[in-house]
C-alpha cells in the first residue's frame, strides 16, 4: 500500500505534542519575528506513529534478513547497547558541562581509546571523526600537518591510491589539497608492487591503501609497501573499512601503517540505519600522534581532563574536525560491543567473518565466477563472467535476489573487475542462513543459464516498489515536496 507523504496527511490545527500556548512580545526578538507559517503539517500522535510504522515496513534491515552488502559490514546490532546508550548520566549529558561533572563520560572515551589502541598496536587515537570518510580526512590532515612541520608540504603533494579504492579515498586526498595518482592492481587483485615503487618520489606525500582491500584480499606485501613508502619519505594511510576481517588477529601497527580510521559503526556494530550516524576514530603512529586534532583527553591530577584548545607544548594539533568531542553515542555502543566480546570474542568474530566469506566462496565458486583465486578475507568478490551470454546483468541478478528475501550484495564495486558482486556475510550469520543463501543463488544461476532472462529483468516484483527510474530522478530533480507540485 502506498503511504502518503507526511505533508499529505496533515491538517491545520492538529498537533502530536501538547505544549502551553504562551504569548510572547516582540521586544527581544530583534525585529525578526517570523511573519509567515513554516508550512509544517499538523498530525496527531497516532497518525505519526502509523505513518512511520508503515514506512519502516517498506525497509529491509539486518533484523529482516541476510544483508551481505560487501564492504559495509552489516552485522547484528545488539539491543543492550541501545539500552546502555540511553542511560541517565550518559545519553543525556551535555557536551559543555564542566568536566568535573562528566568524569564517567571521559573515562568511557578513554577506555574505548585504550581498546582501540590495543587492538591496533598504535600509540594514539584521534576520537572525534564522525564517520569513515571523516576519519580519512583526519588522517590525511595529520599527514599534511606532519609534512608542513617538516617543511615539505609544498613539495609532497601527490598521494598514491590503488584503483580498487573506495571513492572516498581520492575525494579525501583532494579535499586535503593533494593530487591523486592511481596505482594499478595485479591480476591477483593486489597492489602492483612494481608499479607502486615506480611511482615513488620526492613529491609523494603518502599512500592510501585499504587492507584487507576492497577485493576482499589481504595485501600480502603490505609490510614491503610500508617500508617503501617510508623510505621514500611518505606516510602510510590505511583505510580501515575492512578491519572486521582481522580484529584480534592482525594489528595494523605491526604492519607499519601511520594512520588508519576505524568505522566503529561497522566493525563494532552501532546502528547506522539509512546511512549514519557513524564514528571514524583514527589511530596514529608516533610520527603522526603530535598532530592529532582537538579535542583530546588527558589524565590530569583531578581525574580526566579534556583538552579543547592547544595546551601542552609538544602537541601540534592540526585543528578541529567537528563540534564538541566526537560521537559519544557511537562510542558507548562500540565499547559495549567490544566488552561483550572481549579479546577472545573479537578474535573469534573476525575469524568467523572470514570463515563465512570463504564458505560462500567455496560453495559458489563452481557456479559463479570468483574474481581472484585463493583465500579471501571477510568478503568475497565475484564478477559477471558467469552471466556471460545469459542476457542477465549483475543488476538484474541482484534484483532477483530481493524477491527471494535477501538483500543483494554490493554491485559494480570495486571497479577493478567487470560487473562486480561483492558479498560480505559477517560473523553474525549462522551456517543455515548461508546454506539457504547458497541454495538460492545456485537456483537463480540455474535459471539464468536456462535462458530465462526476462524473469531477472522483471525483478523485483514482491517489493513495495519495482525498479525505479533513477535517470529521470537525476535529470529533473524533485528533491522536496511542495504544496503545488505534488
Amino acid at each position: 500500500f502506498a503511504e502518503p507523504l507526511i505533508f499529505e496527511l496533515g491538517e491545520d490545527g492538529r498537533t502530536g505534542v501538547d505544549l502551553a500556548d504562551v504569548k510572547v512580545s516582540d521586544n527581544r526578538l530583534g525585529g525578526l519575528r517570523r511573519k509567515d507559517k513554516v508550512g509544517l503539517p499538523g498530525l496527531s500522535e497516532p497518525q505519526v506513529v502509523r505513518h512511520y510504522t508503515r514506512l519502516s515496513q517498506k525497509n529491509y534491515g539486518i533484523d529482516s534478513g541476510f544483508y551481505p552488502l560487501g564492504s559495509c559490514t552489516m552485522k547484528h546490532n545488539p539491543r543492550v547497547n541501545e539500552k546502555i546508550a540511553r542511560l541517565k548520566g550518559l545519553g543525556d549529558l551535555h557536551p559543555m558541562q564542566p568536566t568535573s561533572t562528566a568524569q564517567g563520560a571521559l573515562e568511557l572515551i578513554d577506555t574505548l581509546a585504550h581498546w582501540i589502541k590495543t587492538l591496533c598496536a598504535m600509540p594514539a587515537v584521534a576520537m572525534s571523526p564522525a564517520a569513515g570518510a571523516h576519519g580519512e580526512l583526519c588522517g590525511m590532515m595529520a599527514i599534511k600537518a606532519a609534512l608542513e612541520d617538516r617543511g615539505e608540504a609544498d613539495v609532497r603533494k601527490r598521494v598514491l591510491v590503488p584503483e580498487s579504492a573506495h571513492g572516498t579515498n581520492p575525494a579525501t586526498a583532494a579535499a586535503c589539497g593533494f593530487s591523486v595518482d592511481s596505482i594499478p592492481a595485479t591480476e591477483r587483485g593486489r597492489v602492483d608492487f612494481a608499479a607502486f615503487k615506480a611511482k615513488l618520489g620526492p613529491d609523494v606525500a603518502g599512500i592510501m591503501l585499504t587492507n584487507p582491500n576492497t577485493c576482499g584480499l589481504f595485501e600480502n606485501e603490505v609490510i614491503e609497501i610500508a617500508d617503501a613508502i617510508h623510505d621514500a619519505g611518505g606516510y602510510f594511510y590505511c583505510d580501515g573499512a575492512n578491519f572486521n576481517a582481522i580484529v584480534g588477529r592482525v594489528r595494523p601497527g605491526d604492519l607499519g601503517i601511520d594512520c588508519m580510521h576505524l568505522n566503529l559503526h561497522k566493525t563494532f556494530s552501532t546502528p547506522h540505519g539509512g546511512g549514519g550516524p557513524g564514528a571514524g576514530p583514527v589511530v596514529l603512529s608516533e610520527a603522526l600522534a603530535p598532530f592529532a586534532p582537538l579535542p583530546y583527553i588527558v589524565h590530569g591530577k583531578d581525574g580526566f581532563d579534556l583538552v579543547e584548545h592547544k595546551a601542552d607544548s609538544d602537541a601540534k594539533p592540526f585543528g578541529r574536525l567537528k563540534g564538541y568531542h566526537g560521537q559519544m553515542g557511537v562510542f558507548i555502543r562500540a565499547l559495549a560491543f567490544m566488552m561483550s566480546h572481549g579479546a577472545d570474542g573479537l578474535r573469534q568474530a573476525s575469524s568467523d567473518a572470514v570463515l563465512n566469506a570463504n564458505y560462500l566462496r567455496a560453495e559458489l565458486q563452481d557456479q559463479m565466477s570468483v574474481s581472484f583465486d585463493g583465500m579471501c578475507m571477510h568478503e568475497v568478490l565475484f564478477d559477471d563472467h558467469f552471466l556471460k551470454d545469459t542476457g542477465v546483468t549483475t543488476l538484474d541478478f541482484a534484483k532477483a535476489m530481493i524477491d527471494e528475501g535477501f538483500h543483494p550484495m554490493t554491485m559494480y564495486f570495486p571497479l577493478v573487475v567487470h560487473g562486480a558482486l561483492l558479498m560480505e556475510p559477517t560473523e553474525s550469520e549462522a551456517k543455515e542462513t548461508l546454506d539457504l543463501y547458497i541454495k538460492t543463488l545456485r537456483g537463480l544461476n540455474a535459471r539464468a543459464q536456462s535462458g530465462d532472462a526476462q524473469f531477472f529483468k522483471n525483478a523485483p516484483v514482491l517489493t513495495p516498489r519495482r525498479r525505479l527510474d533513477e535517470t529521470a530522478a537525476a535529470r529533473k530533480p524533485v528533491l522536496r515536496w511542495s504544496p503545488d507540485a505534488n
Partner: protein, 451 residues
C-alpha cells in the same frame, strides 16, 4: 558467545567445505610475523548483565542534566523529546538498514529522507536541502567550501558571532584548500554591528557566514549583510545552532541567505555528550548541483508508482572520486529520522508553541538573573540563550554551581580560551524543560555565590 551463531561443529564443517584445516589457513596471505597467535591483552568476554553494570557505574560518575537543573546551551540544547520519536527510530527496519542502495527495499528510508529534506527546506525558507550531514559545524565548513567552488573565489568572511567550534572546523577545512578566512573578533560587549562584517567583503569574497542567534544569543538581521554580499557577488551562508528558534524567528531564506546550515540536534536527538547530532544543509535550486552530501529525489517505478531514490550521485565520490563535491559519504540517517519524526509530531502549531515557550522562559530567567547583584544581562535580543556578565570569573562560578548540583551555564572562555577579557561572561540557555523550580535554584545559588 551470544552474538556468534557458530558451534565448533559448524566451524569444522565449514573449514572442511573450504578445504582448510584451521582458521589460520584462511589467513595465509598475512605475513606470518604479523599474525597474532593469541588474543590481545584486553579483558575477556562478559555477559550482558556485567556490561550493563560497567556502564551504569560510569554513568553514575556523571551529573545528569535530567536530574540537575541545567542551563547549558552553546549549540546543544536540552529539549523534551516525545517518547514516540525514540520508539520509532528503534524499529529494526529503520535501525538496522543501511544506505538505501537498493531503493526497492529502502522506500522507508528514502521517503523519510525526502520528508526530512522538505522539512529542512520549509524551516530554513530555502528551496532544497540535502539528506543531512554530521553536525552543524561540519555543515558550515562544507558550505564555505561549496561557496568557494560555486563562486570560484577563495576568501570567506565569518562574522564574529559564529560559534567557536564552527569557526575552528571551517578553518581546518579551509586550510587544506587554501581558502582565506577573515574573522573579526567576537565581541559580546557591544551590540552586533553589521558594518563590521560588511566592511570586510571584497570582490574575492566567496561568502559571508553569519550565525543568528549568534554564539552570544543575539538575533542578527541578515538583510543588510546579504545585500552587501550579493552586491559583491558573494554568497550568504546563514547559520543556526538552535533550529527551534525558526519556529519564532524569520527564516534565513527570507532574509537573503543562499545557503543555510544548522545544527538539528534540538529536534529529536539526545544530547549524548555532543554527538551524534545532525547537520542541516539547505540552499537554492540554482546551487543544488554544487551541494555536498547525499540527496533523495522523487521518481517513478516501472509501473508508474511514485517512489524515491538517491539521486544527483554524479556529485559524489563513488562516481566522481577526487572530483566529488565533498568527501562526505555517510549522512546521519537515524538522527535525520529522529528529527523528522519530532518535527512531524510538533507540526506547525507544536513548533510555534515550543518556540514561544522557550523564548518566554528565557525572558523570565533573563529578568530574574539581571536582578541579581553581580549579574549583568548583555543581550538586547535573544531567543532561548543569552550572555551575562558576572562579578566573578565564570569558570569558578560554574564550578561552584556544579558543586551545588546545578549545571548553570557555559563560561565564554570555554569556547574562546584566549579571550581573557571575557572571563567573567557566561552563556545561559533556557528551554521548555526548565521548571520554575530550576530557575529559582539557579537564582538562589548565584545570589549566594556572587554575594
Amino acid at each position: 558467545m551470544r552474538y556468534l551463531p557458530h558451534t565448533e561443529q559448524d566451524r569444522k564443517d565449514m573449514l572442511d567445505a573450504i578445504g582448510a584445516k584451521t582458521v589460520e589457513d584462511l589467513y595465509c596471505d598475512v605475513p606470518q610475523k604479523a599474525l597474532l597467535q593469541a588474543p590481545v591483552d584486553l579483558p575477556l568476554a562478559v555477559g550482558e548483565m556485567e556490561v550493563e553494570r560497567t556502564f551504569s557505574a560510569m554513568a553514575a560518575k556523571n551529573l545528569s542534566p535530567s536530574i540537575a537543573p541545567s542551563f547549558l546551551g552553546a549549540g546543544a540544547y536540552r529539549h523534551h523529546v516525545p517518547a514516540t520519536v525514540d520508539y520509532m527510530v528503534q524499529r529494526g527496519e529503520f535501525l538496522t538498514a543501511y544506505t538505501p542502495y537498493q531503493p526497492e527495499v529502502s522506500q522507508g528510508t528514502l521517503q523519510y529522507l525526502f520528508e526530512f529534506q522538505t522539512q529542512v527546506a520549509l524551516l530554513t525558507g530555502m528551496e532544497v536541502a540535502n539528506a543531512s550531514m554530521y553536525d552543524g559545524a561540519t555543515a558550515t565548513a562544507e558550505a564555505v567550501l561549496m561557496a568557494a567552488r560555486a563562486t570560484r573565489r577563495n576568501r570567506a568572511v565569518l562574522a564574529g558571532g559564529l560559534h567557536a567550534h564552527y569557526f575552528d572546523v571551517t578553518k581546518t577545512s579551509a586550510h587544506s584548500l587554501n581558502i582565506e578566512l577573515v574573522h573579526p573578533d567576537s565581541d559580546p560587549t557591544r551590540p552586533a554591528d553589521p558594518a563590521s562584517v560588511i566592511d570586510l567583503i571584497d570582490d574575492n569574497t566567496a561568502c559571508v557566514v553569519v550565525q543568528s542567534p549568534d554564539m552570544f544569543g543575539r538575533i542578527i538581521d541578515l538583510r543588510p549583510i546579504a545585500e552587501a554580499a550579493h552586491a559583491k557577488g558573494a554568497l550568504v551562508v546563514a547559520v543556526t545552532t538552535e533550529i527551534v528558534s525558526l519556529g519564532l524567528l524569520e527564516a534565513p531564506g527570507n532574509l537573503g541567505a543562499d545557503i543555510v546550515t544548522a545544527e538539528g540536534q534540538s529536534l529529536g536527538i539526545a544530547l549524548s555528550y555532543g554527538g551524534p547530532y545532525v547537520g542541516l544543509f539547505a540552499t537554492t535550486s540554482k546551487l543544488v548541483r554544487q551541494m555536498p552530501g547525499r540527496v533523495t529525489g522523487q521518481t517513478q517505478d516501472v509501473e508508474g508508482q511514485r517512489g524515491w531514490v538517491l539521486t544527483l550521485s554524479t556529485r559524489e565520490q563513488h562516481i566522481r572520486r577526487e572530483k566529488a563535491t565533498s568527501n562526505i559519504c555517510t549522512n546521519a540517517g537515524l538522527c535525520a529520522l529522529a528529527f523528522t519524526i519530532h518535527a512531524s509530531l510538533l507540526g506547525e502549531e507544536g513548533l510555534s508553541r515550543l518556540a514561544r515557550l522557550n523564548h518566554a522562559n528565557a525572558c523570565t530567567l533573563a529578568d530574574k538573573l539581571a536582578a541579581i547583584d553581580g549579574v549583568e544581562l548583555m543581550n538586547d535580543s535573544f531567543f532561548n540563550e543569552f550572555t551575562v556578565k558576572l562579578s566573578q570569573p565564570a569558570e569558578e562560578v560554574v564550578e561552584a554551581l556544579a558543586k551545588r548540583g546545578i549545571l548553570g551555564g557555559v563560561p565564554l572562555t570555554r569556547l574562546l580560551p584566549d579571550r581573557n577579557d571575557l572571563k567573567n561572561y557566561m552563556l545561559v540557555a533556557v528551554t521548555e524543560t526548565n521548571t520554575d523550580a530550576d530557575m529559582t535554584a539557579l537564582v538562589q545559588a548565584l545570589e549566594e555565590i556572587l554575594s
